[in-house]
Subunit: 249 residues, 2 copies
Amino acid sequence: MVHNDHDGSRSRRTDGPSISAIPYQEASDGKITRLLSERERDLIAQISLTVRFGRGDTIYRAGDPAAFVYNISSGVARTYRALPDGTRAIIGFFFPDDLLGLAEEGAYVNSAQAVTAMTAYRLPLPALENLLRRDATLEWHILVKLCHELRDAQLHAVILKQQGALSRLALFLQLLDRSRRARDGGSGEIYLPMTRSDIADYLGFSLAAVSRSFRTLADRRLISFRDRRHLLIADHERLASLIAQQAPE
Amino acid sequence: MVHNDHDGSRSRRTDGPSISAIPYQEASDGKITRLLSERERDLIAQISLTVRFGRGDTIYRAGDPAAFVYNISSGVARTYRALPDGTRAIIGFFFPDDLLGLAEEGAYVNSAQAVTAMTAYRLPLPALENLLRRDATLEWHILVKLCHELRDAQLHAVILKQQGALSRLALFLQLLDRSRRARDGGSGEIYLPMTRSDIADYLGFSLAAVSRSFRTLADRRLISFRDRRHLLIADHERLASLIAQQAPE
DNA sequence: CGTTTTCTTGATGTAACTCAAGTCTAGTGG
DNA sequence: CCACTAGACTTGAGTTACATCAAGAAAACG
């Protein structure tokens, strides 16, 4: 029997470092492209170690000296920031082939935790910088990846700017769906490795509101849940038109 | 008489391309650092042209083929996206020494306009890519700049996640103040080149709410306006503590 | 199989949106 | 230089959507 792989979090061949993104210049029909050549992956492999994290483990903390960049090979991570008002803001969710470890003046900007069990390549920053200053093509690929992350961060802001709770959640689901499609295609089912509370802290509303909004979308048959972690967008059209109008239908 | 320069938008010596950012590794005490060497600035100057925009002029539109990257030398720009619901989301404000022109698959992701009269260096993308693939150090500097922009975009999301209108506006003012301090220091006065409506579309609330929130902050003596475009943070402490507690004092 | 964590659902208050009228400001032409 | 006008901003009143508080249900875990 063919094993289940569409979660993107289990059973991925861990055959070395890998980085993917939607390109800056070349058309790719919305598809994510593997950026690194065999040689480049070897170069990175030579300076990196494989590390493993359990669900909920902390990968690094905001403010810590930034010693490493992480390249996820399996599992899902979240980055977040503790806000002055005592709440938590989730900055983003990270999947295999993503990079983790943004810093400013030598210190991590956000904290990072494993959402699921996770493996990653750990790249020491000095060695990485060395490598990049020597190999312009490899560096170019990192640059393209960074542009991808920048677009993601901007999209996050756009989602947060959305007024109604339903629109915001709908946009989030579209985002997950697009990323799913860009990666594998697969069954069409969206996988939610994160908790409702993670989603709330990512979308900027309360846990209760997330729950209610999911229910409303399900009641209107725009989505359907297989279980709490797996859902299907049942009506892409109406979901999109929900985002378009601000008045709740 | 010494002419007025603290707006950061007028009378800057346009002595060639220049890119600044808070570094990734090196400590700089929160200060913005000029990233490019003389030689690197020359290299960029050789492939670029100076272009000029009037207030409100469009620099490029989302979806257009991405032919250029812009390096602002004077004035302020905004990038934005038209949302399906008919509203506008402002992605960011851009100042001298910033880069403009993020693309995906060869097309601009956002639209860009001049907030004030503006001059910029216009870099053709193929020439730029060529340059970068040849010069790893220059490319490294662009990479550092991109990390800076990524942190900015993340901070934007954090601001939008803030619950109360006052907190959100206060955070925005802190952001502007930090960026002012990182650049010049100057008079301590914050300059708002953008309209109230721009601020509303950046912070994700209504024009009316921006106005009211400014008024409330001024009434409580946390800030003071010289005119609509220039304000002073009168009490940094209480402004910070306003952000820390969610309940309005 | 019991315990803990995560999630759902209900009731209430409030902050901010909308709509709308009025004021200020800057830019233009007489 | 001043009057005029158009756009930008402020302020007010009513309404609604979501946060908050709180209790109950369902998974997940050992």
